[in-house]
Amino acid sequence: MKAWQLFWAASLLIAGGSFACITLVVAVKGFRDLRAVLRRWQEQKERD
């Protein structure tokens, strides 16, 4: 049981840590991505 406890605790730390880190990166770089996408949608709309 002890081994399972350690395994799940380690999995939880990795899961929580990667969730927080990826959120931070996506919040910053995703905003840039979004602005670029909005620009391209606007250009496509004008072309159409």
Partner: protein, 504 residues
């Protein structure tokens, strides 16, 4: 702790911003490609945000917390499988790379390219049926969460459900995928902040040591080891692996994100990194459920766990987590968390509304018109049909959500309704892409046996979900192989038409 004016103000600002941003997206919609797959312009980071936001909702938090409450750390196995399978699919590009190369808009569309128009129609009907039944329980459970945490009297549950649905429907109907992507970004950031906040509060209030000792004393080894847990076991784990492979490749709302990326390579990156998010998507709310068990699991035993008791009132396990949040979150934080959960709710529901309505319009209505030799619809009319389908799906969700309560754990209900089409679709797609011998008869048999294998044992024979789910995947695979060997060869050329590459 009551919902304060500050909490209401935070929620009101979020709702106003979300709907305004969603409505602004309408001006970018030029064609049906924009409406359904955002013009295939998504880069990796916005792709991750929209995929994660689509698959993380209040319903996700509720069913995962319920699993954590009922089965302890053993439930983490389901989260681990979901994340690892997603990372594997992303790294290898299994199915998703070829799907993206084909420039599809819906999953059933592949069935016409590889098999036949009739099989696309059948798949469209099964995908829409399974998907809408699956989504049918969302609203009620989300409404229960919001009324419990915010302290709104439960008699306003229907009103809460209606308001949630109407708000998300307004911008989804008008702006389609464009509005959904823009709002998903805001919603992803907010729901992630709420997830991290709640996790910290839950562990702080319950205490890690108390969590471990509660699970040990209540469940023993079964609370940690999924193989010895009676609800799980090896068959459950095998079913979960198959299910998550099929979800990550053939689930319409996930596949739409892959179709919306700007290249096959981007779709692989999006899937890989979202896999890491999926580990937290499952495990963190499961931890909230275990914390709720630790704090309030003092009632009579029910299926091996004590029912939650709060202020002298006995609750169901699924209600333990929101009841805990209502108690432990302070003013301001509660507003941020409820806004985050509303964000999660709206991002999932808007994407699912669009996903299932797009299948109805593109894979049921349009193929049916072609079978009747009617003229094809232009882009504007296709969008109109999609909007009508969207309203129809919304109306059904209100009805089903009010009158149907799933038996047992909600997670397992969602898995089995998804399996109705996933088992057959996964077998047909994998066979179609990687096995030249797969043919139309095999495709039909896979879809029919897969659907029957889930519906008959679960809804009519009342078998448990694992037996029905695993049996369904087995039957679909047998159906595909048997039908393909029995029927005429498809004529697919190795390296070409079974992969149907249209563009490099």
């Amino acid at each position: 702790m009551a919902f304060t004016v500050l909490d209401w103000a935070i929620v009101a600002v979020y709702l106003a911003a979300s709907v305004a941003i969603g409505l602004a997206g309408k001006r970018f919609v030029g064609s049906v490609s924009h409406y359904l797959v955002a013009g295939r312009e998504l880069g990796p980071y916005i792709g991750i945000a929209t995929l994660a936001a689509t698959e993380i909702g209040t319903i996700t938090y509720m069913y995962n917390a319920e699993l954590g409450y009922r089965y302890g750390f053993s439930s983490f196995s389901a989260a681990l499988i979901s994340g690892l399978v997603m990372i594997f699919v992303g790294r290898t590009g299994f199915v998703i790379r070829r799907f993206r190369e084909l420039e599809l808009m819906t999953v059933p569309e592949y069935f016409e390219k590889r098999y036949s128009l009739g099989l696309r129609l059948l798949t469209g009907i099964l995908v829409a049926t399974g998907g809408i039944l699956n989504m049918g329980v969302f609203l009620k459970i989300e409404g229960e969460f919001l009324t419990t945490v915010s302290g709104i009297p439960s008699r306003y549950l229907i009103l809460a459900m209606t308001v949630i649905l109407l708000l998300e429907m307004i911008y989804t109907v008008l702006g389609g995928m464009v509005s959904v992507v823009i709002t998903d970004f805001l919603q992803y950031v907010l729901l992630s902040v709420a997830t991290i906040l709640v996790s910290a509060y839950a562990v702080y209030h319950a205490g890690w040591g108390h969590i471990i000792s509660k699970v040990s004393s209540t469940m023993g080894q079964a609370g940690y080891n999924p193989i010895v847990n009676a609800k799980f076991g090896l068959t459950f784990l095998l079913w979960q692996i198959l299910l998550w492979f099929s979800v990550n490749t053939c689930w319409q709302t996930t596949a739409m994100r892959m179709f919306s990326t700007n290249s096959p390579e981007t779709s692989k990156r999006v899937m890989t990194w979202t896999g890491f998010i999926f580990l937290g998507r499952g495990m963190l709310p499961m931890l909230w459920g275990i914390a709720a068990l630790t704090l309030y699991g003092t009632g009579a035993m029910d299926k091996g766990v004590p029912l939650p008791v709060l202020n002298g009132q006995t609750l169901m396990p699924i209600d333990a987590m929101p009841a805990m949040l209502a108690q432990i979150l302070g003013p301001g934080v509660k507003g941020i968390v409820v806004a985050g959960m509303l964000a999660a709710t709206m991002s999932v529901n808007s994407s699912y509304l669009l996903g299932w309505s797009s299948v109805i319009s593109q894979d049921v209505v349009l193929p049916f018109r072609r079978l009747l030799n009617k003229a094809p619809l232009d882009s504007r009319r296709q969008i109109f049909v999609n909007r009508i389908a969207n309203v129809f799906v919304s109306a059904f969700l209100m009805f089903w959500g009010l009158y149907y309560t799933p038996p047992g754990a909600v997670y397992l209900y969602l898995n089995i309704t998804g399996t109705i089409f996933l088992a057959g679709a996964f077998a047909s797609v994998v066979g179609g892409l990687y096995w030249p011998r797969a043919n139309v008869l095999g495709g039909y048999l896979a879809m029919i046996t897969g659907a029957a294998g889930a519906i008959v044992p679960f809804f009519f024979l009342h078998w448990n979900e694992t037996a029905a789910g695993l049996g369904s995947f087995g039957l679909a695979a047998v159906g595909l192989v048997f039908g393909s060997l029995l029927g005429k060869p498809s004529g697919a050329q190795p390296g070409h038409s079974y992969a149907i590459r249209t563009k490099p």
